[in-house]
Amino acid sequence: MSLANKAQSKRLLAVHGWSAVALGLFLYVVVLTGSVAVLAHEIGQWSGGGKGHANVLDRPIHDRLTELAEDVDPAYREELSVYQNAAGSVFAFFHGHEKKEGAGLQDKGVRFVLDPETLAVVQRDEGFRSDMPIDRQSALDRFIVGLHVRLHAPNPWGLFATGVLGFVMLAAAISGIILHKHLLKDLFVAPRISSLLLNRRDRHILAGSWSLPFSFILAFTGAFFSFAGSVGLPIVAMSAFGGDQEKMVEFVLGTPETADERPSPVANLDAILSESRARVGSSPTFMTVSHWGRADAKLTVFHGPAEGDIEGSNHVFNAATGAYEGGKPLLGAKPSLGNAVFAWVGPLHFGNFAGLMSKAIWVALGLATCYVTLTGLQLWTQRRNESATWRALSRAIPIVGYGAPIGLLGASVGFFASFRGADPTDWTAAGFLIGSALSIVAGLAVKDRETLSRLYQGATGFGLLALPFLRTLLSGGPGWTELLNTDGALIMAMDLLMVFAGLAAVSMASGVRLEKLAAGRGSKAVVQPAE
């Protein structure tokens, strides 16, 4: 049963198609990089050699942090953040808050980068957090995440762009539901092979129908992340707090207790973390200590979700006495519906609540959305093939469709090639641009569509197959003998994933194309009416 009459359907189809046509290729790049970024932690471990796979907050760290605290300006002991990035590097950032010209209040202090095994200082940076260099071990996963989150455009414009793309995806999903007259009836309709256009249409509708619930979820949560900080927070501050964001943050996070600046030694952090682990049932992933060395010092520990749960939790301890003070909502000072909803936004977007199983499914959901985007664009342009403009866009679809993954392969090669010498951050970006540029050149030079598709698939396949070797040969990452003797299962699994994905792409490059199938079998195929 259609939800719209004929005229409304026509208008909705225009909204559905034009919104996707205008921004569909950008949306594809954001969703593709998002699908890859679901595995950012694993990519960080894999590309960085997996040195720090053990959680630093599950090990004794109190003595090391006490030594480091002595090495910083007392003004920077206002707050300490301790965390581990995807590649395993450990960060201890002692900082205060200062106004930076043109950027408002910012974190400023001393950041120690620690070796995850020995906790020795491998790098010391001082200044504003936003000016500090990216950890070279984590350059590849940070590049992929940056491309997904803000297309590497300056803040806040990149966030605006990806937020708008989130709304485009929402609009396409909603108009798609209303347009599709037999959504439930057609959930199992077999893609027709009587014509290429009908086959593509059926495949587009099938993938779109099945991925609909998660298209909503991923688009909404993605738009939330893009706009919450860049637009939502300033608007709320402007309307409810007269533009005072600090006052608003204080309202949301709770009023600080009365200051007690008397000096007091920090309680044993290892014992506190151990107690927190026992209380929550999961490992801590992040901790902050406010007012280090004072009587009013507080330790806040963030835990990932416990077994069977979706959301993580915050727990507060008195860092001078070690006493447990209670759980703390992620948002606001007291439990609320807003906090409950907010706590689900992250897990729903990142799919990181049930380890590799949920991540693998979220990757598949993201790739399904990529498929829907590209097949939708193909349908739109194929139906208007008589126009030179649409034919030009039609040529751009495989260039971007294959060019984005080839660019990501180029980024990986750039990272591995520069890991031991040059700056991996710059070379990762350069590798992406080189890979993308080569894809564009190939797309312009090779006129035959089938030859071009095979070329792209072959390049993607051989690139993926080469990555495990480049990881060891160029960057000096651990080989399989070493990985077998240590706890290197994750890196081996990532290597195998590259090999299987590479073989699949090479197989596609050498396989029978759908066009041939349709041309050769179309006369015998059973033809079904369009609706």
Binding site: F188, P191, A207, W210, E307, I361, A368, R521, K524
Partner: protein, 94 residues
């Protein structure tokens, strides 16, 4: 570990129900050159009920992680099942 087992069990039940539903789908049957009705009477409502039952059971058991993972997985599995290309019986039997 318990959540993983709940998830796998739920996915197995739902995947079996989805497989059955695609087998008895009349439009699909026509594309496959199969008769719309099989030898035994089809029960699509029962199959939908069984397939979606984990969506009620898992939250009731407090297994939110398994529920959400199942919800994501069945959309992918359902798509892959439906995507299967029809065989052309006239060419295969020739």
């Amino acid at each position: 570990m318990t959540s993983l087992l709940y998830f796998l069990a739920a996915l197995a039940v739902s995947a079996a129900a989805l497989w059955y539903l695609q087998r008895i789908d009349p439009k699909r049957a026509r594309v496959f050159n199969r008769g719309a009705q099989g030898e035994t009477p089809s029960r699509p409502r029962l199959a939908w009920g069984v397939g979606l039952a984990p969506g009620l059971i898992l939250p009731a058991l407090g297994e939110l992680s398994a529920f959400l993972t199942w919800l994501g997985a069945i959309t992918v599995v359902g798509w892959l099942i439906a995507l299967k290309r029809p065989r052309d019986r006239s060419s295969s039997s020739a």
